[in-house]
Subunit: 649 residues, 2 copies
């Protein structure tokens, strides 16, 4: 965290029992340092010093906000302080008691990889030593291969012409010793490659999450199941529009093929990067053609673009995709720069706005295997919500709008370099923030906006309708348009990915911005709430709330509750699964069991169309307040609110 | 028939009970006229006037060879004559009694088409009227289509990306009325085309026989199963060599792709010709992309070339093809100029020299459905033989050599325009012949050579070893090389397909030519004989002998027996099936039953390698005589041979 107003020096902060150390500038609060170090300290009031949940025991240089260092501080004796109120002035040791923990620590780890008991990858290698043909044993090359396969299903595996063409050369190259690569699809097996000799120790696959903004690719050693490298880059389609709808329009005007070309270029770039990095790492030359399988997840529009399928019917009522359950496709039908005979698996979607990325989230979360009721929220552009357990599932898309993705907010931007992803306002009214890449700030991304609204609200700079109080802070001013704005910082000189014309020199948040953010948070909250109500459940019935999406990982749950984005339930029920879409792609790549499971999820899942639900509009309107019209739904927020000031309804 | 020595006028000959009339030049024998008219008169001695089998009752102008017209001839009263001895001098009516008939009349008809009880084509069309999507019924386009399919197998039909891409446009083009084309393969169903509206009344397929010399294509209306047009042309590969081995060598030197390109060009040409002709015929515009299925038969080398599979291992011991049972291939993997998403079916082969053409012959012959023992002979370059019944089958390739295809014989040529395809020698030593296309003669094709050897033998111009007797005819002369040659005719000025350098001005047959032909006939006869012996059968056990191949149709069975090419059994046992390879392709295109049957033939068939059989070499040596060392095997030939002259062994 960087305070923009004061000169700083660097202090070391050590957290126990986590055993984590972090260097932070002086002036950082203990709570901020803990967040930055990944130490989960509960902070119901968002660091306003009101809830008292963030108590920690410190030894070292900490001053309680605004006061002179106490004798204990100087003496080095341990003392209890509120982490949000303790400003670091020098090196310090912090002990975080269990009672102050959010309890999501273990989940952050779990989000890395779901462990697979056994690998049953999309493609498997079989090494064979064929008997040499003679006049007495004069089977054709193909029949000779088939005869040597032990498994009857393998023996009847399909084979395409391109692979068939390679057979006579390959079988004779290393004296009738060969390695077959056999893909296992829902519609039978298929021989996708034949190599001379024994190559069973090298087999590669890719798992790809095609995000609207970012594309992430994992190159996986299919023998061990280990990820060799993870690469990510911006989706090159961004030049045609930042959000899905703009791109669908673009595709209608310029043809889907432009979109397809751009996404293929993006993935091909990641493939070559991954091969290069993995080659260095393993000391083995790994080429794109060594990649024999791929599993892809993405929202329906991204998958349609990837496959060059028309998206125009997805944007118009009744919102119809070409296909949700996409059959295996051949790499060279796309064409993707991996082995052209490879099969590409696409995680199935459920509707035009519930894609394979969401089903992959579900798969990665494991909620489909649990008896307990789970609520999964992917806080992306649309805000997709899945409610259910191992027996049933209902999903909806909240049409949340792009506020958390940088849209509809003047200072909003994607979670990319220069984006403010965490903000706090000190008691004295200073603004502290962290930018991605630790560079000068360019704008604010989703998690930063949630922090910001929460902080503005907690510090009474906005009321429950989200309207700025011009007298609450010298940072609030009237704009020419007549509305108020809160000043955060001056813009750095970094370049935004998209050229927005003349770029503002200041990062401000206006009343309009705040209203747009409130609409977004209201959509997501009411999506969850309607799904539950329509099945006669309540938030309290939910055993776990799973937060998915790359964005989710930086989300401050407490602050999200404060603004009424997430329900006010026991923090221990929250779980982050990180990029579940990518993890789901990895799982389906490596395990036929997981491919069956996601198909089962697809079959089990019912789509609930919110846009025709009267209840949704009612809920939505009530959720436009901070945290909600019905404050009783947010008891933890209610408990620290300044009654006189906030409870004006 | 044209006698080259005498001026001619035209007479009308009418045959009863056939009801066939034909115009022939004066000087034609009744037997020749009958052969030309397709009236099958038995002629054991090959028209030498010795066997007495060719008796017919005539009314009209016929003179018995060399004699003055009899009073009956002038009076118009019916009289019995030997057809081979009766020369036509004016209009004549001929009654052919049952006792003089070969009894293959009905088979010539049967060879046209095997009747199919029910069509179950490779591709089937299904017309659907889909319910329009609504917010309540918002299935994806693909799921909407699947749901409307009644058959569960259809519902799970695979679909490739290229077809998937067409869906959103097509379903909406005619208000959710569509026609699916579903292919049925051994590995499940597949949607190969989706069209707007109801197009179930137009569905086309092609059956193709890829011959080494000639490629024949049938365009078939898949709704009715009717052949719309049959097109044929020379295989463009001929420029790389006339026979299979030369082409394999060529492919090794210049790459298989050259061969592939040439055969695809050939077929694509036939496709466009067929579409044009069929469009005129039906009044409907039929385009190559309307062709949704194809079935191909051909010898293994041709199929390998067609699919761009390496042939080099097929020519070297142990003669290994890449594959015998070829999986369905996609049209655009080849690529063939039909609908790119079509599946192409390849009739399976059994070994490097027993191809899908032979299995298609078997399928067309129906021998695989009969309890009776059948012997099928395809007198092509190799001379393939299949022996068996519905329970078992053994096949072999006789390596007969290309004599009957125009190779290894100085005046030999393929059965193309200008080829002498029928020859007879009159009692007075005149040579009469017929050329394909009724043009001036360029050379002699297989059936002509068989006729010629038989005639030379019957007229004692050659002895049982096939050596010309220089004193037997003024047409026999000594060449510079020291060997003898029999003069047939002067060459016409037509151009041979292959440029043979300086072309001879005379059509001659030499001692060496005759030896080459004897080797060929000996190979085929002994192939048959060894197959039978190895299973402890005799020719007499065979219920039918099936002659396949386009060449077979013009083959004079009696003359083929005379030279010992075919076994001397009851002529009634012989059946011509014409181009069984093409017919087999047609059947597999139209009937899943037939595709199962050919697969069953493939599984049932055992390959017998003659090249390692000691018995074969023994049999072969004995068969080099005319008709055979063991004259007792050819009783009908023995009966008319001049004992003193021929029985010199
Ligand atoms: S008191 Fe520190 S976070 Fe509430
Ligand atoms: S007697 Fe006429 S053919 Fe034999």
């Amino acid at each position: 965290m960087v305070s923009e107003d004061k000169p700083v020096s660097i202090c070391r902060v050590h957290f126990d029992p986590d055993g984590v150390s972090i260097d932070v500038p002086t002036g950082t609060t203990l709570l901020e340092a803990a967040q930055r170090a990944g130490v989960p300290i509960d902070s119901v009031c968002g660091g306003a010093g009101r809830c008292g949940r963030c108590k920690v025991r410190v030894t070292g240089s900490v001053s309680v906000s605004g006061e002179e260092p106490s004798p204990e501080s100087r003496s080095g004796k341990p003392r209890m302080v509120l982490a949000c109120m303790g400003t670091i002035t020098g090196d310090v040791n912090v002990h975080v008691p269990e009672s102050s923990r959010i309890g999501i620590h273990q989940i952050l780890e779990a989000s890395e990889h779901v462990e697979l008991k056994a690998l049953s990858p999309l493609v498997r290698k079989v090494h064979l030593h064929l008997p040499k043909p003679t006049l007495e044993d004069n089977l054709s090359d193909l029949d000779r291969i088939r005869r040597s396969l032990l498994n009857a299903e393998d023996r009847s595996a399909k084979i395409g012409l391109p692979v068939l063409r390679t057979i006579p050369r390959v079988v004779r190259e290393k004296d009738w010793e060969i390695t077959l690569s056999i893909a296992e699809t829902t519609v039978g097996k298929r021989i996708v490659k034949i190599e001379p000799g024994d190559t069973t120790d090298s087999m590669y696959g890719i798992a790809v999450d095609i995000g609207t903004t970012t594309v992430v690719l994992r190159l996986i050693d299919m023998v061990t199941g280990k990820t060799l490298t993870t690469e990510s880059t911006y989706n090159k389609q961004i030049v045609c529009g930042e959000d899905v709808l703009t791109r669908i329009f673009y595709a209608e005007e310029h043809g889907t093929s432009t979109m397809t070309k751009l996404i293929i270029q993006t993935i091909d770039f990641l493939i070559s990067e991954a091969c290069e990095h993995a080659s260095k790492l393993t000391g083995k030359k790994i080429r794109p053609t060594d990649i024999l399988s791929a599993s892809i997840s993405g929202n329906p529009a991204m998958i349609h673009f990837f496959l060059m399928l028309d998206t125009s019917n997805m944007r118009l009522e009744p919102y119809i995709p070409v296909a949700n359950l996409i059959p295996f496709v051949h790499a060279d039908d796309i064409p993707l720069n991996i082995n052209p005979n490879s099969l590409v698996y696409i995680c199935p979607g459920r509707a035009s706005y519930i894609g394979g990325d969401v089903l992959a989230d579900v798969l990665a979360s494991g909620m489909h295997l649990s008896k307990k009721l789970s609520l999964l929220i992917d806080v992306g552009t649309n805000g997709e919500v899945v409610l259910g357990n191992k027996d049933w599932m209902v999903c909806c898309s909240c049409s949340a709008g792009p506020a958390f993705e940088g849209g509809e907010v003047s200072c909003g931007m994607r979670a990319m370099q220069g984006a403010i992803d965490r903000i706090s306002i000190t008691r004295s009214g200073d603004v502290r923030f962290h930018t991605i890449g630790d560079v000068e700030p360019l704008g604010i991304c989703g998690s930063g906006l949630i922090d910001l609204i929460s902080e503005l609200f907690v510090h009474d700079y906005i009321d429950r309708r989200g309207v700025l109080n011009p007298t609450a802070s010298k940072r609030i001013r009237k704009l020419e348009s007549g509305e108020s704005a809160f000043y955060i910082a001056h813009r750095g000189k970094g370049k935004l990915v998209k050229d927005w014309g003349e770029q503002p020199t200041e990062i401000l948040i206006t009343d309009t911005d705040i209203q747009n953010i409130l609409r977004t948070k209201a959509a997501i909250y009411s999506g969850c709430s309607v799904l539950l109500k329509s099945l006669e459940y309540d938030f309290e019935d939910v055993s776990q709330v799973i937060i998915a999406g790359g964005f989710g990982r930086y989300l401050n749950i407490r602050k999200a509750i404060t603004i009424g984005l997430l329900p006010d339930i026991d923090l221990k029920k929250y779980r982050f699964i990180g990029n579940g879409a990518l993890e789901g792609a990895r799982l389906t790549l490596l395990s036929s069991q997981k491919r069956n499971e996601i198909l089962d999820i697809y079959r089990k899942m019912t789509y609930f169309e919110l846009s025709v639900s009267a209840l949704f509009f009612e809920e939505f309107s009530s959720a436009l307040f901070l945290p909600h019209t019905d404050i009783e739904r947010f008891p933890s927020v209610k408990s620290f609110l300044n009654k006189e000031h906030h409870d004006e309804r």
